[in-house]
């Protein structure tokens, strides 16, 4: 690869948006409070809509405008609202058991996730998938994001952060889908979005049931076996 060669403005902009999403994923990873995590999730979801609009405008795919609007309505507005409502019902200012639910320290978590991101970059980059609509680097970034989101769900020991991690995992997969299959029929893309709604409902049930049983969202209480 020629080191000086730049991929062009469109590819660069798409890559920058994808990179910003990855940076926000890291932000969610290290953010202690759930309301900040939800805010970052909303920002990340807004970015994927922006990316869809950029691709739609540059590659002439009008379907993607509809997808961007739908995804923004769902992921920037509805999901954060629902999760915030649910947490508001716990009757505390900040949901109990979320802050400080790290398994490791913040610095170790970030360093470990950098390793995960490298693995994601390497594996997806090595696939050598080239798409006519979006740059291949964005796919590698999506791969890194999937792994970091998994890492987030593993290192945080509370239901709410794990839910946010799962939702952002869906964002990462949407990004990968945009890169490899931007021309996918709209109906399929929408179906995937509604999958997310199912996940939201399931996580909502989980959060409420867990909070009703243990008065906390922390999963640390679940390690002890109870008869």
């Amino acid at each position: 690869m020629d080191p000086v060669h730049a991929p062009g403005v469109y590819q660069g902009a798409a890559n920058v948006i994808a990179t910003l999403m990855l940076v926000l994923e890291f932000g969610m990873l290290r953010q202690a409070l759930i309301r900040d995590q939800i805010r970052l999730y909303a920002a990340q979801s807004a970015l994927i809509s922006v990316l869809a609009i950029v691709i739609a405008a540059d590659r002439g795919l009008p379907d993607l405008y509809a997808l961007a609007a739908l995804s923004a309505a769902l992921k920037v507005v509805a999901v954060p609202l629902v999760v915030r409502r649910l947490l508001g019902r716990t009757g505390h200012d900040e949901a109990p058991g979320v802050a400080g639910s790290y398994t490791f320290g913040v610095a170790n978590t970030v360093l470990g996730s950098i390793g995960l991101a490298a693995l994601g970059y390497f594996c997806f980059g090595a696939l050598g998938i080239h798409s006519p609509v979006a740059p291949a680097a964005a796919l590698a970034i999506a791969g890194a994001m999937v792994l970091v989101a998994f890492g987030l769900m593993i290192v945080r020991r509370d239901v709410a952060s794990q839910a946010v991690g799962f939702f952002s995992l869906e964002n990462a997969i949407s990004l990968a889908a945009l890169v490899v299959a931007a021309g996918l029929p709209l109906i399929l893309e929408t179906a995937f979005l509604f999958d997310l709604l199912v996940a939201v409902v399931v996580f909502a049930m989980l959060m409420r049931a867990h909070h009703a049983r243990t008065e906390s969202l922390s999963t640390a209480d679940l390690t002890r076996l109870r008869g």
Binding site: A6, V9, Q11, G12, N15, T19, L22, V23, A137, I141
Partner: protein, 320 residues
């Protein structure tokens, strides 16, 4: 058509611009910060008056401090004044002494100066000066890897590690500007600059609270002309770092591409404008964020490290 300046004069002008404008930049930032906080603020030229006053004062050294204590400020300023020879301050083309060293060479000069100041603070025997130098060295040990990764990004982007080459690459096309690697490296460098120049969120620049001090505590035991040199040195370092950020990474435009006197003059004006713009951003950050607690600074630097590493990944593994 104006007269062409000899190349040596331009080279000298690079150093002179930085040397003369550095205290002024500190004055401008202090003034903007004061205005943002609703105060009248000091005069713009206050840092020059401070330096003039200190240069006229008597110098005292603590008992037991040797020649090193007095020599360090002089050598540190000399090291700072060497760096403008290596980076594109006024011209797009490399000046004869510009290829003495690459980015790493400039980095070595900056860390040599910082090491000398820290060692002189240790020699003083004063507890606050020692605390400052110990903290400064601790934190520079964690900002160093960030700078290293920024240099890796530059090397991957240009195939060299000459600051002139990166500036030319950024100028070459819009595609080079929106590359994630370039933007991530610039952001990481900006965060390192905030840490290295002792700004919020790492340190209060004009605080008198010794417990939070890092860079500001080091010259506690120096006085008179030596203290003036240390103050001037930190102002020089600030302008040099801003110049690297502006003229190599963010906005390498407005530099002189010929030896004409007018274009060199314009380049000086452009540099001052760019440095003031960065200063304005820094002043806004200074007035809108709280200082981090000392043990949280590692997390701030870890954020910068993350950006720099992602820059290298995107470029090397992702091909972006």
């Amino acid at each position: 058509m104006s007269a062409a300046l000899p190349i040596l004069v331009i080279q000298l002008l690079q150093v002179l611009t930085v040397a003369v404008a550095a205290p002024g930049l500190t004055g401008v930032i202090a003034r903007m910060e004061a205005r943002l906080q609703g105060r009248a603020g000091p005069r713009l030229l206050q840092p020059y008056y401070d330096l003039a006053k200190l240069f006229r004062k008597e110098a005292l050294a603590p008992e037991g401090a040797g020649w090193f204590f007095l020599a360090a400020p002089v050598v540190a300023v000399a090291a700072y004044l060497t760096v403008p020879l290596l980076i594109p301050v006024l011209t797009t083309y490399g000046l004869p002494l510009g290829y003495m060293g690459d980015i790493l060479g400039g980095g070595f000069m900056l860390s040599l100066a910082s090491f000398l100041v820290a060692a002189a603070a240790l020699e003083s025997g004063g507890p606050y000066a020692q605390l400052g130098s110990s903290r400064a060295k601790t934190f520079s040990a964690i900002t160093e890897p960030v700078v290293l990764f920024v240099v890796f990004t530059v090397a991957l982007l240009t195939g060299t590690d000459l600051p002139y080459a990166l500036a030319a690459t950024v100028r070459s096309s819009a595609g080079q500007i929106v590359r994630p690697a370039h933007l991530l490296a610039s952001a990481a460098l900006f965060m390192v600059i905030l840490a290295e120049t002792g700004r919020i969120p790492v340190e209060t620049h004009t605080g008198t609270n010794e417990f939070g001090m890092i860079d500001e505590a080091r010259p506690f035991e120096h006085s008179g002309p030596y203290f003036a040199l240390l103050k001037w040195g930190s102002e020089l370092k600030q302008l040099i770092l801003y110049t690297i950020l502006a003229n190599v990474f963010l906005a390498p435009w407005g530099l002189a591409s010929t030896q004409q006197a007018t274009s060199v003059l314009l380049a000086i004006v452009a540099l001052l404008a760019k440095a003031t713009a960065i200063g304005a951003v820094v002043a806004v950050i200074d007035s809108s964020f709280a200082k981090l607690r000392l043990f949280k600074i590692t997390e701030f630097v870890a954020g910068a490290f993350l950006l720099a590493v992602l820059g290298v990944f995107t470029l090397y593994l992702g091909g972006g």
